[in-house]
Amino acid sequence: MGTTASQLPKDSLSEYQELTFLTKQEILLAHRRFTELLGRDERNHPNPRVPMQVILTLPELKSNPFKTRICQVFSTSEDKDGSLTFEDFLDLLSAFSDSATLEIKSHYAFRIFDFDDDGTLDHSDLEKLVNCLTGETEDTRLTSEEMRQLINNILDESDIDKDGTVNLSEFQHVISRSPDFVSSFKIVL
């Protein structure tokens, strides 16, 4: 199930094809890009794991404000350091692919936005989310007053059971109202 040398064995390829939303060409392209990220000594490793810093050099992720969260969500490492194996990488591409279902996309979007990983989007998560969205420069950031008002409005609109946080179902309910989400939650290699 790992990758040996630089070739992907055929049965792994068909298994990946069955279990993810990627096509054969996409998996092969992903494999090629992944092996390019490996160091020379790691290429012969049975199941190489690429540290987060190297993954973030990919041009598709380099400038994305959510890049660290994406790596952390899809990482299966025990140290939770955001490093990805090839299968984690395929998971990532599958969730961001063209044919992934809305449920998968909204599930992973929820986990990416849940900065403290507690299963709900509370006040601090929303604040970090808005800061990521509006960028780094001073004039695009919201003032604290605006931030407070924005988060109150968001909670008013989306917190249906009024517990002060947005859980997965409420998040999916908001997402289902926006038809553009599926096309914007996409990363293509």
């Binding site: 025990e78 917190d159 009024k162």
Partner: protein, 796 residues
């Protein structure tokens, strides 16, 4: 509930979480009020609660820290996030549906399974297994789960959680075993688990079948082709994507979306769709019409020499070629082997091919329109705009740093605008301002309508004059050039009017500009069609060549070409030269903005011309294909070099629906009506074309049908059935009646769903209030029974 007084004092004095309730006086009042609504939770307690809490926070605001969390709203909803809940309360809370909604669904089971899959691999204590490892800040809103793991009962809870997750995984496996393999694979693929987990689950659930799976290479297969076939079949079943054929221009479009976002991408997707529609049209007409005629050229054709001007104007060489209507003859092909059984009649083929292609394209357009409309339709339109903007607005496809910065700016501006709208509400305008706005609007509309009227009039007069100058070559292009010129200039006037009007919302501005552009194009095409059908076809003007269809076909061909040439000129002059001009001379770094709406309308206009002209020039779709191909590369390069992304928001799915509707409704239907009118009513000329000596084109079909009756049994039966259908008006009424019934039914279903959604939301709200009440009751009972434990938690 009866001993409310004692209870409140105990809690308030020891409870440091209620920071605002420093004094016992008002705190007691507030807590008493809080107790009261507990009796009648379905009354209107929230208002009273809110009031008291606001009062409280007001009094203690001066002494509380200036953290943003001390607002009344947040305070109210934070009542469920106290630190020192008892363990029992916490257990109840953690198993509440809202906390576990993510965890009970397949997604949630997946999360649990994922966490526990890691367990056997390392020997850490079970305490850590459920402990969410990310370091959380030690502030008041720390999550419940943190507390669980550090409790005495932490071990028990962790074990129970572990056991819970294991059962979840086994449940998954048993679920998948019950269903067929294909269905199970599809379910497994849709689960948000990691690939390693999925492979393990698959191994367990499909193990009896896995032995027969083709993936297992130990199975000896004697029949190699059979193995390949079954493997291919398996892959076809599991790979749901059949649209990989639409990979044309995939990399270019990815580059474009990386820089400019989804709005510009929708324009290029629309272009690609149009290309495929034209390709389909061209293939049908080529196979059934052009090819037979090309193989059997008519006897009376005489070749005129080729000239480049002829290529532009459509006169000369091209007019005597397959391109135009005049070339086609009314012969019946009987020479080849197939056609000696059923003779191939060119006039009938002409009518049938054109009508069938229109019919197929109609079905395709209606289908894509309904699909796109279904995507953007929402059953219950509530004001979720702000949260939608925050959750759904980030476009992950954008990869370049400056584009990302632009996107952040866009989002920030939009959020700030929406927030300021909410706070200030509608600006109050004085009467003078209102009147001035009204005048500006009236003036802008007057300018636009007047310009449209005058341009239509000019074209009408010009077209009448053009007939007299029939045989001068380049002058024929003059009218086409004037039409394209109007199409180019007048939108500039409309833009100026829009700038003058200063609409409030950007979507209004877009709709108004689309409407004006559309009106202009409809007027121009309407005038031309009236001129062609009303005057030329009927009057049989001797100055027009005897073959008026040829003339109309050539006019449309010239219009299409001129449109293309002018677009090229505009892209070159308007974007490239303007950019150089503004950079070098004006020294401003402002690149022109790519106007999506206007470019899409240009595409729709070109497509309308193609559809109008296909009856008179069957190879016109080929011209359109070449034009679209060149246009793609030209626009893409011009965009990359010259333009910048627009700063206005663009709702891609919604606008795509609008564009396809525009393509269908005025454009396609208008062309279909034009073609239908020509085929049914207009008398074809007697000198040229395949329909000479007939009263109208449809008559050729009737004649052919008559002849066919003698040839074949099935055909005659079909023809009789067809005649019965078309003569009987019931044929029209019955399907329309059924159609209207279906629409009415659907509207009622949507209405019912809206009502259900509203009721369910109210139900969830009420249950939230119940939950709050019950939790506080539970906590109160616990604390009443164990007054020592509340001391223990004091130190936090």
């Amino acid at each position: 509930m009866a001993n409310g007084g004692n209870f409140s004092v105990n809690i308030c004095e020891e409870d440091h979480d209620y920071e605002n309730l420093g004094e016992s006086g008002p705190s007691r009042d507030s807590f008493q009020v809080f107790k009261e609504p507990a009796c009648n939770v379905r009354g209107n307690p929230e208002d009273i609660q809110m009031e008291m809490f606001t009062k409280n926070s007001d009094t203690s605001d001066s002494e509380s820290t200036s953290s943003s969390k001390e607002s009344s709203n947040v305070y109210r909803v934070r009542s469920l996030q106290r630190n020192n809940w008892s363990a029992a309360t916490r257990r109840v809370l953690s198993s509440m549906p809202s906390r576990k909604t993510g965890l009970h669904s397949s997604a949630g089971m997946a999360v649990r399974a994922r966490q526990t899959c890691a367990l056997p691999k390392h020997q850490t204590s079970s305490c850590d297994s459920l402990h969410i490892p990310r370091a959380t800040q030690a502030d008041i809103t720390s999550p419940e789960f943190e507390e669980i793991s550090t409790e005495d009962e932490g071990n028990n809870l962790a074990d129970s959680g572990l056991w819970c997750a294991e059962t979840n995984k086994q449940q998954l496996v048993s679920d998948l075993r019950g269903v067929s393999e294909g269905e199970g694979m599809r379910k497994l693929r849709a689960m948000p688990l990691s690939l390693a987990d999925k492979m393990e689950i698959r191994k367990h659930s499909f193990s009896p079948l896995a032995k027969n799976s083709v993936i297992n290479r130990n199975v000896p297969c004697h029949n190699l082709p059979c193995m390949y076939l079954s493997r291919m079949w398996r892959h076809c079943r599991y790979t749901p994507r059949f649209s990989t054929s639409l990979k044309l221009w995939h990399s270019s479009m990815k580059k474009l979306s990386g820089r400019y976002g989804t709005g510009v991408l929708s324009y290029f997707t629309f272009l690609r769709t149009l290309l495929f529609i034209n390709l389909l049209f061209f293939i049908i007409t080529f196979l059934f019409l052009v090819l037979p005629q090309a193989i059997h050229p008519p006897p009376d054709s005489h070749r005129v020499s080729f000239s480049w001007i002829g290529l532009l104007t459509g006169i000369g060489y091209l007019s005597q070629s397959l391109m135009f209507y005049g070339y086609y003859s009314n012969i019946t092909i009987k020479t080849t082997s197939i056609t000696s059984v059923v003779p191939y009649c060119i006039p009938t083929a002409y009518v049938f091919t054109i009508t069938m292609s229109f019919f197929i394209i109609c079905i395709i357009l209606v289908y894509s329109m309904s699909k796109s409309f279904g995507k953007s339709f929402q059953v219950f339109k509530s004001d979720g705009n702000l949260s939608e903007n925050v959750f759904c607005s980030w476009d992950f496809k954008v990869t370049k740093k400056p584009s990302i910065r632009l996107q952040s700016e866009k989002i920030s501006t939009r959020l700030k605008e929406q927030l300021s709208e909410l706070t200030s509400g509608e600006e109050e305008r004085t009467l003078v301002q209102l009147f001035r706005n009204f005048l500006v609007h009236v003036a802008a509309w007057f300018i636009c309508l007047a310009s449209i009227f005058f341009s239509a009039l000019g074209i009408y007069l010009l077209s009448k004059k053009a007939i007299s100058k029939m045989h001068q070559n380049l002058d024929l292009l003059f009218m086409a050039a004037v039409v394209s010129g109007f199409n180019l200039l007048l939108p500039g006037i409309f833009n100026f009017c829009a700038w003058m009007e200063k609409h409030n919302s950007p979507s209004t501005r877009i709709y108004v500009s689309i409407f004006r552009n559309l009106l202009l194009k409809i007027c121009i095409i309407g005038v031309l069609c009236y001129h062609w059908l009303g005057k030329i076809a009927v009057e049989q003007d001797p100055q027009v060549s005897k073959c008026w269809e040829n003339f109309v076909g050539q006019e449309l061909y010239r219009l299409l070409l001129m449109d293309f040439i002018f677009t090229v000129l505009y892209t070159f002059l308007g974007e490239f030269v303007w950019r150089i001009f503004s950079q070098k001379i004006l020294r401003k770094n402002r690149k022109p903005v790519f106007d999506i709406a206007r470019n899409v309308l240009e595409l729709v206009y070109g497509q309308t011309l193609t559809w109008l002209g296909v009856l008179f020039a069957p190879l016109l779709p080929a011209v359109q294909i070449v034009k679209l191909f060149v246009l793609f590369y030209m626009k893409k390069n011009s965009l990359m070099l010259n333009c910048q992304a627009s700063k206005k928001p663009w709702r891609a799915t919604h606008m795509t629906t609008v564009f396809i509707t525009l393509l269908f409704f005025p454009s396609f239907l208008g062309a279909a009506v034009f073609v239908a009118y020509t085929v049914w009513i207009i008398k074809p000329p007697s000198e040229c074309g395949p329909f000479r000596n007939l009263t109208n084109m449809l008559e050729s079909v009737k004649l052919w049908a008559e002849r066919m009756k003698d040839y074949h049994q099935i055909l005659s039966w079909l023809i009789r059935a067809y005649n019965a259908f078309t003569d009987n008006p019931l044929f029209l009424f019955l399907p329309s009646g059924v159609f209207l019934l279906v629409i009415y039914f659907r509207i009622q279903v949507v209405d019912g769903q809206r009502r259900i959604i509203r009721r369910l939301e109210k139900q969830i709200d009420d249950e939230g209030k119940d939950k709050k009440f019950l939790i506080t009751q539970l906590q109160y009972l616990y604390e009443e029974n164990n007054p020592n434990s509340s001391h223990r938690h004091r130190g936090r």
